[in-house]
């Protein structure tokens, strides 16, 4: 299994724990990643103010993978939706495709539509398979109570994602965790957005949105959260202390990326999974499972 690895902007600069753990478990699962230095921003941050520019950036990134005959594995959910949405519209809208290709020709590129874009979690589910993950389990995580946060762009807009999961009743991430042997916990606000995109326009509002889920999870009595997007992680992990201070509450809730949890189940260690880079300490949890 070989994919070009699309990191985007945030992960290589701010969320190295996600990148470290994703590469670590990929290597155990025989996924080969090809790094393409020329990848730029996916285009997502331009969507609100310059949607054509956003599509151009996304299309150029797709071209870079196409030229190498590779499909694309994406770690960030915002990048996954931007690249997948662009591929969708360029397929459906001939006029847009011609317009984009005219611009791309100025840098010697042409979009053909031959590379498939998939989020890393979707690759684990569809291409690696749950059996393979089960077979790689080396540490018993029974009793690790995990609440999964799906976030938004991993599943939505659903018209671009070919029904690989149902945004109204998502299962994919919990199926993967189930294969890794952890205990999935259900909670009321499972589908709630992290509020991340609102940070740019109204920080206080964004933090209030993130708080809703933290409060709900505090009551659910979980050991950690599981997520698959660096923006969601920014809201729940990096900003958790700030939300605690702002609202005079205490959550003390470890937030792990999916590959960090899978890696723990595979028997990997703290540094191997970048757990030392998490904002909320994971040490208590590590001690419990003798990491």
């Amino acid at each position: 299994m070989i994919y070009s690895l699309f990191l985007g902007c945030t992960i290589p600069a701010r969320s190295r724990n996600y990148e470290i753990s994703a590469r670590a478990i990929a290597s155990r699962l025989d996924i080969e990643f090809v790094d393409i230095d020329e990848f730029s921003c996916c285009g997502f941050p331009l969507e609100a103010s310059d949607e054509k520019g956003a599509v151009l950036l996304a299309a150029r990134n797709l071209c870079l993978a196409e030229e190498r005959g590779l499909d694309i594995c994406v770690l960030c959910s915002a990048c996954a939706s931007m690249l997948t949405k662009t591929a969708y519209h360029l397929k459906e809208n001939r006029e847009l495709r011609d317009e984009v290709n005219k611009e791309l020709s100025k840098v010697g590129k042409e979009y053909k539509g031959t590379s498939k874009v998939k989020h890393f979690a979707r690759i684990l589910l569809e291409d690696v398979g749950l059996e393979r993950i089960k077979n790689e389990v080396r540490r018993d995580l029974t009793g690790l109570r995990v609440a999964t946060h799906y976030g938004c762009h991993y599943l939505k807009p659903s018209y671009i994602y070919e029904g690989f999961d149902d945004p109204q009743d998502p299962q994919s991430l919990e199926l993967i965790l189930d294969a890794a042997g952890v205990t999935n916990i259900q909670y009321r606000h499972k589908k709630l957005c992290c509020g991340g995109p609102v940070l740019l326009t109204d920080e206080e509002l964004a933090l209030s949105i993130a708080r809703e889920k933290l409060v709900c999870l505090k009551d659910a009595g979980i050991d950690c959260m599981n997520l698959v997007c660096p923006f969601c992680d920014l809201m729940y992990d990096s900003n958790q202390k700030g939300i605690e201070a702002k609202f005079g509450e205490e959550y003390n809730m470890p937030v792990l990326y999916l590959p960090q949890i899978i890696g723990l189940a595979m028997g990997m260690g703290r540094k191997e999974l970048g757990l030392n880079l998490n904002s909320v300490s994971t040490k208590e949890l590590e001690a419990r499972f003798e990491v």
Binding site: L7, C9, T10, P12, A13, R14, R16, E19, I20, R23, D35, D37, E38, F39, S40, C41, P45, L46, E47, A48, S49, D50, E51, K52, G53, L56, L57, R60, H89, E92, N93, E103, L104, K106, V107, C152, H153, K156, P157, S158, P167, Q168, K191, L192, C193, G195, G196, P197, V198, L199, L200, T201, D202, L205, A206, S208, I209, E212, G274
Partner: protein
Amino acid sequence: MKRINVRESDPGLVEEVESEEFLSGFRGCLGCGTCSAGCPVRRVTTAYDPMRIMRMLVLGLRQELLKGDMIWLCSDCYTCQENCPMDIKITDIINHLKNLATQERNIPLGVSTQEKLLKDQGKIYVIDEFDNKKRSKAGLPPLPAIAEEARTLLAKREGRHKRE
């Protein structure tokens, strides 16, 4: 909330948004409020209401929509769009409205700052020597500082509406 004044209606806005074929069909809005009922932003503030945005669009209230702050509070989560019984592309429409507001120079500082970063660097964060040192220490491959060709691509565009 201020009372809606339909005398301010500009049907041109409806046509403008409908001209994007993918976004058309919003005139079928039932006003059922399913969008607002599920909205995570609406949960915590009354300053935001996706149904109100849809009604303002159908009524062509251009000034209020494009000069106001409300559209910029959308968190882009697509809950409203996924729940809409008329399959109206509510989130995609609000995103397009943000683009139209930008052309009218109504753009929050955070958004315009990101736009400038991308046009200068092709990525939001420059990967400097320090970053690459940390990456190398963690066993990660080095990355170039900026995305030069992406910057060129954005700079070479024709007929780009100039706001400045």
